[in-house]
């Protein structure tokens, strides 16, 4: 169960602007972190229409990477059973 949960891209990072979302995706690609841009689910309120979905393992590395960049992240959500819970960044 733990392995399959780790593999699930059930964390969603949202941004203030599309440019930030795209920059974040690029950083992930350059660091070989598996991350995918997708439209923000309607149940989440976000400034920018794109969100980055990642799994738990990638999220740890991503947080560290974001701390060393000037990319502004808006919020972080955890998704389970089609419900989104906002987490502390």
């Amino acid at each position: 169960m733990a392995d399959s949960e780790e593999a699930l891209n059930n964390f969603l990072v949202t941004f203030h602007a599309t440019s930030a979302a795209m920059r974040c995706e690029k950083i992930c690609q350059q660091s070989e972190l598996d991350a995918h841009l997708r439209p923000v689910p309607r149940d989440i309120s976000s400034s920018c229409g794109l969100a980055l979905e990642v799994n738990e393992v990638v999220l740890c590395d991503l947080k560290e990477t974001l701390n060393n960049s000037d990319i502004d992240v808006e919020a972080l959500y955890f998704c389970r059973d089609d419900e989104f819970v906002e987490l502390e960044l």
Binding site: H16, A17, P39
Partner: protein, 383 residues
Amino acid sequence: MAFIYLDNAATSHPRPRPVVEAVSRYLNELGASPGRSGHRPSLESGRLVLETRELAADFFCASSVDNVIFTANVTGALNIALKGYLRPGDHVLTTPFEHNAVLRPLHRLQEERNIEIDYLPVDSFGSIEREDFEHLLRENTSLVVINHASNVTGAVLDILPLSEWCGEYNLPLMVDAAQSAGSFDFPWEKLDAQFLCFTGHKGLMGPPGTGGMIIDPEMVERTKSFIEGGTGSKSDQLTQPQVLPDKYEAGTMNTAGIAGLNAAFKYLADKGLERIIEKKKRLTESLCRGLEDIPGIELLGPGPGERRTSTVSITWSEGDTAELSVKLDREYDIMTRSGLHCAPLAHKELGTYPRGALRFSTGHFNTEDEIDRTLAAIKEILG
């Protein structure tokens, strides 16, 4: 049509093949609007725009990618910057060598917002004296806006000292880099400018309809947006987002053009900007020396061997340079530009108002043979 194109100060021609192919590839294969939909072609368009922003940020040594704002052209960037930044009653310092892209917005702001304008004396070689600068400063001076290189004479402004003086007085500096970017070797990392406005389709050899502004983040709060509209962000709100770059990029951008600009930056890096500039310098030098030797022809601005862009303007003591331009076009297939070059005050300073001058501007794809043929044509016309 085979002709000798010497009007690169207006727009570069031809453009590098990769630029043309990149525009075509975007229109044929990708086509989607960046930053709007979440589907894969839209995301790929967004990645293309981001990469181009990064290339521009690298070229101009911007502190952050998000400080690169894309506009339709340098005129658009200057309008955003001037009309967004200046407040009623502000005092602005500029020069007589500005293009109408600066002069006309300033003129309108003078009428509508009572801004006051003073013109820094600049000699035709691009030098400004510190004493003149300090003499014109007032308590309400809020901005210095400067043409980096004259589109009439090719003279390059000695801008680094001026940017230091502006720093000492905590005065924002706005630079019109329309004629300088990609035209001569310049250490952008040393320039402390709060607004750097550039065009994509002249020295950078990108497509028309591209350009932008590198804005200092400290200027963003004060500089109001010019156009409000869709940005793909904060869509639930009726106010324009204040985050960069969205604040100044409402509406669908010229993604096809940006694809071409992307290829242009890569072309310059691949071929070596220094080599490109060196070739233009050689061609311009040949043209200058040749023109100087023709009786009745007078060069404006810097002479051969002096610092300049690849723009050279001349007057003709025996006749109308507009007629010369027409003959060069119709009888010799040589393209030049006569008139006031959208820089009326520059011509007043040079003593060539209202008749104007004839401008030649070499580009990366011109050849020595074309320069020789141009000089021969002029001699033939002048008899």
